[in-house]
Subunit: 361 residues, 2 copies
């Protein structure tokens, strides 16, 4: 923590993960307005921002709770006083005692797609004297976790719902294969097909008398489809708050609140500048980050600790000059940093700890 | 920190970054034996392991000091009592006061390749009442930082050596373009060409009367070339201690001490298993990590929080089963974790904090 609140953004130590508070707030308000006009509710995913400060801004804007990927994240949110938490994954093996601990001071909910795991959770909940909420995860086309819709989902749901110590709350499915489709119409069609599978499974379970209160899906790329789809009750979108280059490329209307600010440490000649931000500062699985300041320079490559920029018409850079990037993938880039340097205009107004950074367990 | 020292490795919470202490010690001893028989010394790079515990093991085996990429790393090593530290990069702008603070309680040395930066360092050192050691960084073929060998290097060295508050110690150059060349003979040729440029520059400066005590270069892929090259006094190799899949692929004799241990969280059918380790646990810029346990399974893809494995002849996996991977790139993978789970055989013997994790400033 070497940043100084009140200082000009250009004076901060680099590299730094900067968050534009005005853009963040507008993104949160825009999403809240969307859900304020619909039956479905927003349960924003915290795996992107990993920051209780932002989670509380989302809750105050109307979100009904939060979604987490990992128990570590859920514990971080619970420590910040957030109670209604969905861990949208299976909790297995040595984590089960930790989950029961969390269940004693928060209202946590997990995904299940396997009867042996559900039985383990049931036994642990009974032993701990807690009631654990569970959602059945249904496979909706992504080909990852989840039980197939139809008879397999029904058979598993019946068994899970009968287990002591668990409260069967409903079902979830993630259309991760759809959220990044560049063409808006194709993206909508893929998301609608997935939500058709999910809500169809919900109807099947209800006809069997199972209490399906929650039908949860959705990501930032498809929130407008899933959030309007009849029968979907909750949407797990998360990246909309900070945004990144990847989601910007599919034409979403949210603003880019996240930048990485770096500094030139070497400029061997007028067409080359080397900055102090590399692969330990910005991730590349969705492509190279984009230079947004200064104009006329492009990122050529990232090595571990360095970024090489080539000149494309801008003025030559000198050691000490500031360069700003938009990360291509916010989720993994944020996970590299301990805190956001929060700015309004040109001024640093706060540092917000990324409390769940590195929380992969 | 949820691991328990003394427990069986199969019982640890996952995903976890595991370090085999026996393999680590054999790697450190092997490298120490190489340098024990030669005039050049080892100054191991800490940007890979980021761990003072390992740095001290290297120092006790004969290393003359440590190399760091960032001031954050150097501060972490100095806090652990290590004094002789090379930061093999340029320190610019808002970091200069921090560097002067570090120089008051350690024997730190930095790279310079720009006269304005050297003058800033000189002025700050004089104001702080410290003497800062500097190495001139020479470009040896990588096309990144550094001043060209020959007249530009000589002209800059003269000016730097004359600045008050700085002590001119010598030169450095990194043959990063050579360390990963798969063919051993080609790798050797590229490294020898680079060290020819570096030692040639050293000779030129010496003929001018400049005190070139240190000539520093080298990485794990080329340590045997640079460590034997006449005139090279120090080698900066770092990855040899832990190793990774990338360095293993170029045929180095060091052992794989580093693994990521994960657990199956979902197994929708016999040919698919999903583990709890994704891009926030293992990096992919040098390719997908390799499954080393169990046999007959291969990693198909990593998303943020999940790895999808496909069966290639092994027994079907069930939720809770343990899977081990060799990271393709140790440096960036280690940087995602807060601690090593240190094992001997099947037992956890320690947790070592990765003190400089995330230290990108």
């Amino acid at each position: 923590m070497n940043q100084q609140v009140g200082m000009c953004k250009d004076g901060i130590d680099t590299p730094a993960l900067c968050l534009d508070a005005n853009a963040l707030e507008r993104n949160i308000d825009r999403m809240a307005a969307f859900f304020g006009a619909r039956p479905a509710a927003l349960r924003p995913h915290c795996k992107t921002h990993k920051c209780p400060t932002i989670a509380w801004m989302q809750l105050r804007a109307g979100a009904i709770g939060v979604t987490c990927a990992k128990l570590d994240e859920a514990e971080a949110m619970a420590r910040a006083g957030i109670r209604d938490i969905l861990i949208a994954n299976q909790i297995i093996g040595p984590k089960i005692p930790r989950l029961m601990g969390l269940a004693t001071y928060s209202d946590v909910m997990v995904a299940v797609d396997d009867i042996a795991n559900a039985e383990d959770l049931s036994a642990a909940a009974c032993a701990a004297g807690v009631t654990l909420r569970v959602l059945l995860e249904v496979e909706v086309g992504m080909g990852r976790c989840g039980v197939p819709a139809g008879e397999p989902a029904l058979a598993l749901a019946r068994r899970v719902a009968a287990l002591p110590g668990l409260r069967f709350e409903g079902i979830m499915g993630y259309e991760g294969h759809a959220v990044m489709i560049p063409d808006g119409a194709e993206r909508r069609a893929a998301a609608e097909e997935a939500m058709g599978i999910l809500t169809g499974a919900a109807d099947l379970l209800r006809r069997d008398g199972l209490p399906v209160g929650i039908v949860s899906g959705g990501g930032t790329g498809t929130y407008d489809v899933t959030g309007s789809y009849p029968g979907v009750t909750e949407v797990q979108a998360g990246s909309y708050a900070t945004m990144d280059g990847r989601y910007h490329s599919v034409g979403l209307e949210f603003e880019q609140a996240l930048t990485v600010v770096a500094r030139v440490i070497s400029a061997p000649h007028d067409d080359l500048a080397v900055v102090d931000a590399g692969l330990k500062t910005m991730t590349t699985e969705f492509g190279l980050p984009e230079v947004v300041h200064p104009e006329g320079w492009a990122l050529q490559s990232l090595s571990e600790e360095h970024g090489k920029l080539k000149r494309e018409g801008g003025d030559p850079l000198r050691p000490g000059d500031v360069v700003a990037f938009v990360p291509s993938h916010g989720c993994t880039t944020i996970n590299l940093h301990d805190a956001y340097v929060v700015t309004r205009g040109d001024r640093v107004v706060a540092e917000w700890p990324i409390a769940a950074r590195g929380g992969v367990r």
